[in-house]
């Protein structure tokens, strides 16, 4: 496996290899000298066509802890407004001998295009593309869930998966690359996923996904849940009639104080609350939920560095195992 583009085509073997390696990497972050010489002399380019300070500094920290040289290339707007194409940008990076390109792009599929076009030899890591995929986010979420799940079971997390874990993902699924990447990865790791959203914020075709779909957050919580992931909802979606108002959204689909209390009533003492950030406090999540002991928001950020170290290390060291079988759904159909 040369690139990390999505989770739909990520095998269980590769997913667990990344999570296990991230586990080793997380120990580095707890040492006084937070640095390994693993990627000394290698160049990692953070190519960002869209602003995302959080993701960029997470990748930057990951690469630096592995001793790689890091170049930050903010190409926001250059693709169209300055007339420079993705192809030219890619070939510029190639000429500078980049070993890995971490790409964030507003267009779904841009990382895949970079990886398969022949414009560049570097390993490509998708740091979020349009509304398509955000594989390192899903991996850090899975890493966070696995640590919790194995602790509850009293088993070591290394080598483990999420078999039997009930995960609810609630919010703007339609526009969420985080949801798309989580659904496939969590399926691969054996979790049971339920998506909760207003019908307007679910894609047509969601019925083919390997998960349950509900419009009712309360009923879904009452059925029992081990992890709740709240997705960011942009208030501007209201203007395009995806929902009538932010208040109605928060009442029906937000994780508010009442729902936080409901978890206690249901005796779901070990249920965690996740959010990929940045949060809209008071819209999809209340402050008390975000700041409660159940919240894993900050561990998610910490784990993000470990997971990205693992991805960079495995792709650049060539230690990532080959995929046993290619994902069947990626086959071309010429019929």
């Amino acid at each position: 496996m040369r690139h990390l583009l999505d989770t739909e085509s990520l095998s269980r073997d590769n997913a667990i290899q990344i999570l296990d390696t991230a586990q080793e990497m997380s120990a580095v972050g707890e040492r006084e000298v937070k640095k390994l010489p693993a990627l000394r002399g290698r160049t990692v380019v953070n190519l960002f066509f869209e602003d995302s300070t959080r993701t960029r500094i997470s990748f930057e920290a990951a690469a630096k802890r592995l001793s790689a040289d890091v170049i930050n290339f903010s190409a926001k707007g250059s693709s169209v407004s300055k007339g420079e194409s993705l192809k030219d940008t890619a070939q510029t990076l190639e000429a500078m001998s980049a070993d890995a390109v971490v790409i964030r792009h507003w267009a779904s599929g841009a990382p895949a295009r970079l990886a398969t076009s022949g414009w560049i030899d570097a390993a490509v890591i998708n740091a979020g593309d349009g509304t398509h995929a955000h594989p390192t986010q899903a991996l850090l979420d899975a890493f966070t869930m696995r640590a919790h799940w194995s602790q509850l079971a009293g088993t070591p997390s290394v080598g483990g998966d999420l078999a039997g874990m009930r995960v609810v993902i609630a919010g703007d699924v339609l526009h969420s690359r985080v949801a798309r990447s989580n659904v496939w990865l969590l399926r691969t790791l054996g979790a049971h996923v339920t998506l909760v959203a207003p019908p307007t914020l679910l894609p047509v075709g969601v019925g083919h996904w390997p998960c349950e779909v509900s419009y009712d957050l309360d009923a879904t919580l009452d059925a029992g849940v081990d992890a709740i992931m709240m997705l960011r909802v942009q208030a501007e979606r209201m203007d395009a009639s995806f929902f009538p108002s932010t208040r109605e959204y928060a009442r029906r689909w937000g994780f508010d104080d009442a729902r936080l209390a409901r978890l206690d009533e249901l005796k779901l003492k070990d249920t965690i609350i996740m959010h990929p950030g940045p949060m809209n406090r008071g819209l999809e999540i209340s402050s008390s939920a975000a700041d409660s002991a159940r919240s894993t928001v900050l561990p998610q950020v910490r784990n993000g560095v470990s997971v990205r170290m693992a991805a960079l290390y495995l792709l650049l060291s060539g230690e990532m195992r080959e995929q046993a079988t290619p994902a069947p759904s990626n086959a071309k159909d010429n019929s």
Binding site: S79, G109, A110, V204
Partner: protein
């Protein structure tokens, strides 16, 4: 100089009985079995054993890009591609720059076509000024011009305003014109990138719902019925559209419909490759749609195959999916794709192919000397096809400037061996020969 004459020896006429055709003076001068030397004279003999003779193909939907986007295509390069594909007439869509919305522009395109001499070029006139949907273009002036425009379309953009569409349908009755609608409800397709469904959900590309096409077709057939006019539906792409057109035809509404070769063969699954060569308007749909379109073409619900040949420079496709232009080339692959999807599947005979690629589109475009039977006295616009040949599609080897063929790398059946345009071979041995010179070759 006397016009050259050609004896086409032993061709299978419309895929049935073998016979000879003598082409002389721009017409089929004689026909029969084993025409003797007394009839043949000094005609050049073309051994057509094993070849199928069809009337020259007529495309109702071609983008020649000239004037304005000569980097994408010119009338010269586009009509060379057409001749190589077996065409003897193409309708040049109006979305050039300037738009073909005046008598001056359509006459320019018509004249460029005459000068090139590879096929008849029939300009399509814009329905509205600048394709903007706000004001009717001077349809009558274009109809009365030397280009004698009869087909009007804002193709690329839907005439979405129902009142504008009604007026256009009514107005063209004055000169027996037809409105060729690009059926795409604009609000339902804002930012749309691909068919909305199973694949768009996974890829996170903004969906292009089938209903955006079907709702416009439903509205337009009712408008055509109400005002008693003639509607042509461009590039039908969904099973639901087929049902609406079938319903309209059963009610006697004067509607014709078109399907592109690519919608007969390719599905949305190809978008998973993220290669923008598969980005097209309307988008590639699902497998069930492909099969519904094939069935509809076979049973006559869909009348014709139109290529929607849409060449683009490579930079328009060497980019992110969302930034890429929509469109595919098609002139040089159309007949092969029709053979692959309709003949090899047993859905159609070669006579049916002649109907959907020549006779019916010529009738819709009102081209008197195109799409005619292969009979004595008829104009010698015809094509010889080797149905047993197979070839690998290589866009770099094509005559069109566009390299955006979605069939690149595929092996397709059927090769155009010769094309006769007004009795002159524009293509011989599968290669371009010389153009027809109006007023004497």
């Amino acid at each position: 100089m006397t016009a050259a004459s050609y004896l086409i020896r032993g061709a299978s006429l419309l895929g049935t009985a073998a016979g000879d055709l003598l082409v002389r003076g721009g017409i089929i001068a004689a026909a029969g079995e084993n025409l003797g030397p007394d009839v043949v004279g000094d005609a050049t003999v073309i051994d057509a054993a094993g070849l199928v003779a069809l009337p020259g193909l007529v495309d109702l939907h071609t983008h020649l890009r000239e004037p304005g986007r000569e980097d994408s295509e010119t009338v010269e390069t586009g009509t060379r591609a057409a001749a190589l594909g077996g065409f003897t007439a193409v309708h040049a869509m109006a979305n050039s720059s300037p738009v073909a919305d005046t008598a001056g522009v359509v006459e320019q395109v018509y004249t460029l076509g005459r000068e090139s001499g590879w096929v008849d070029v029939r300009p399509v006139g814009a329905v509205t000024v600048g394709l903007a949907g706000k004001q009717l273009a001077e349809l009558g002036a274009m109809a009365d011009s030397r280009a004698r425009v009869r087909v009007f379309s804002d193709d690329g953009i839907c005439v979405s305003d129902p009142v504008m569409m009604r007026r256009a349908l009514e107005y063209v009755k004055a000169f027996d014109g037809v409105i060729a609608q690009h059926a795409q409800e604009p609000r339902l397709t804002e930012g749309a990138q691909m068919n909305e469904g199973k694949v768009s959900a996974v890829l996170g590309l903004a969906g292009w719902p089938a209903v955006a096409e079907e709702s416009i077709i439903a509205r337009d057939v009712l408008l055509a019925q109400h005002v008693g006019s003639r509607l042509h539906v461009c590039h039908v792409s969904t099973a639901g559209s087929v049902e609406i057109i079938r319903w309209a035809k059963e009610r006697g509404i004067n509607v014709t419909a078109e399907v592109t070769p690519h919608h007969l063969l390719l599905t949305e699954e190809l978008v998973r490759s993220w290669n923008p060569v598969y980005k097209v308007n309307p988008p590639l749909r699902a497998d069930a749609d492909v099969h519904a379109l094939r069935a509809a073409l076979a049973d006559g619900t869909i009348d014709i195959v139109g290529t929607d040949h849409a060449p683009h420079p490579s930079e328009a496709k060497e980019c992110e999916w969302a930034a890429a232009a929509m469109g595919m080339t098609g002139l040089e692959t159309a007949l092969s794709v029709v053979q692959e999807t309709m003949v090899e599947t047993g859905l159609m005979s070669w006579a049916d192919v002649a109907r959907v690629t020549s006779t019916a589109p010529a009738a819709i475009g009102q081209l008197a000397d195109q799409g005619r039977p292969l009979e004595v006295g008829e104009p010698a616009n015809l094509v010889l096809v080797d149905p047993a040949a197979r070839w690998n599609v290589d866009p770099a080897a094509m005559a069109t400037k566009g390299r955006n063929s979605p069939f690149a790398g595929m092996e397709l059946p059927g090769r155009v061996v010769a094309t006769f345009f007004h009795g002159h071979p524009t293509v011989l041995d599968g290669k371009l020969n010389t153009p027809f010179i109006h007023g004497g070759n």
